[in-house]
């Protein structure tokens, strides 16, 4: 398959971004399946997937056909930046211990407890609650994936040439998460979700910066200019690392101040 370096980057970014969101959605689908019914849970997930495919189709096609390519690249870059910055910020806060790490097992247990408290439908009656909980979780988690795929798909110089890499990445992630989930029948707590989210945040911000710059008419260093994406990725990684170190030192200093202020603390 003759993919360019940028297209491979799109495959990797779409794969990891999708995998993280699928793992989160799978936790809820599993909780609904185990506590309510597998039929309503899987139907809810399927209906949400169809909705997401429709969103990608409608928004993606209309963006490519209606918006000039430079404007489109800027919009896409801006969208990737907005999503990526949120992911990156959250990841930095988690790795500097300011925010707690996400724990799929704990989320799964909470969801199971909540769902078990709800009244069950009569035998033979379709479980609407299970369907809705499953539909909503897959739709909400998948919405970010949908926007990322639209962004990657429409972001190339030649309008539609990144659609295939974006779909390959997202499709592989879906197959992998679903396969592993069905095999294990347990929340995928061992997936290094926090680390993945960090990596994806960096990639989204790097791609977003490049495409927004391309749309605005920036002259990038490097030949071909696509090489600048690697430079941006390294630059943002280094900046994030330094920010984590700084935040950790802030947290430590705050802890020391509190220890001193506590009666009986070290004076």
């Amino acid at each position: 398959m003759g993919l360019t370096a940028v297209q491979w980057g799109v495959v990797i970014a779409a794969f990891f971004a999708s995998a993280v969101e699928y793992v989160e959605a799978f936790t809820i689908v599993l909780a609904v399946g185990v506590t309510r019914s597998w039929r309503s849970s899987l139907l809810g997930a399927l209906a949400a997937t169809i909705t997401l495919v429709a969103i990608v189709g409608i928004f993606g096609v209309s963006l490519v056909q209606l918006v000039p390519i430079d404007t489109l690249r800027f919009i896409i870059g801006a969208l990737l930046m907005l999503f990526g910055m949120k992911w990156l910020r959250k990841a930095i806060l988690r790795y500097s211990r300011v925010k707690a790490f996400r724990n799929e097992s704990a989320i799964y247990q909470t969801e199971v407890t909540t769902l078990e408290d709800e009244p069950r439908p009569a035998p033979g009656v379709f479980d609407k609650l299970g369907f809705l909980v499953s539909y909503k979780s897959v739709l909400l988690e998948g919405m970010e994936v949908a926007f990322i795929i639209i962004s990657f798909g429409t972001g190339a110089k030649n309008g539609a040439s990144n659609w295939l890499p974006a779909f390959i990445g997202a499709g592989l992630a879906a197959a992998l998460v679903l396969g592993a989930g069905l095999l294990l029948r347990a929340p995928l707590a061992r997936v290094p979700e926090n680390a993945l989210k960090f990596g994806v945040g960096l990639m989204l911000v790097a791609f977003g910066s490049f495409w927004a710059g391309e749309g605005a008419g920036v002259v990038w260093l490097g030949n071909p200019p696509d090489l600048s994406i690697i430079g941006l990725l390294l630059g943002y990684s280094l900046a994030s690392y330094l920010l984590i170190l700084w935040l950790r030192s802030q947290a430590t200093r705050q802890l020391e101040v509190k220890t001193v202020q506590t009666p009986g603390g070290v004076q």
């Binding site: 910066s209 920010l243 935040l247």
Partner: protein, 70 residues
């Protein structure tokens, strides 16, 4: 129509969650255009990178102060 409004509302809520971060990113993107319009297209990329790092720093500092109860 109901679903389109729902999707737009979700996008608005999503973007409005971290005001400083979102506003800073949007201002950086506008500045990127301004720098290119001023004819400094080769400086625009590195400057944009710096703006984004500063925005990230400011947003993280605000969140850290909130979390640590300063």
């Amino acid at each position: 129509m109901k679903y389109i409004i729902g999707a737009l509302r979700w996008l608005y809520d999503f973007l409005a969650e971290d005001n400083l971060l979102m506003l800073g990113t949007i201002v950086s993107l506008v500045l990127l255009f301004v720098i290119v319009a001023l004819g400094e297209a080769s400086y625009a990329g590195p400057l944009f990178f710096l703006f984004i790092v500063v925005v990230l720093f400011l947003s993280l500092r605000a969140e850290a102060q909130r979390s640590m109860g300063k």
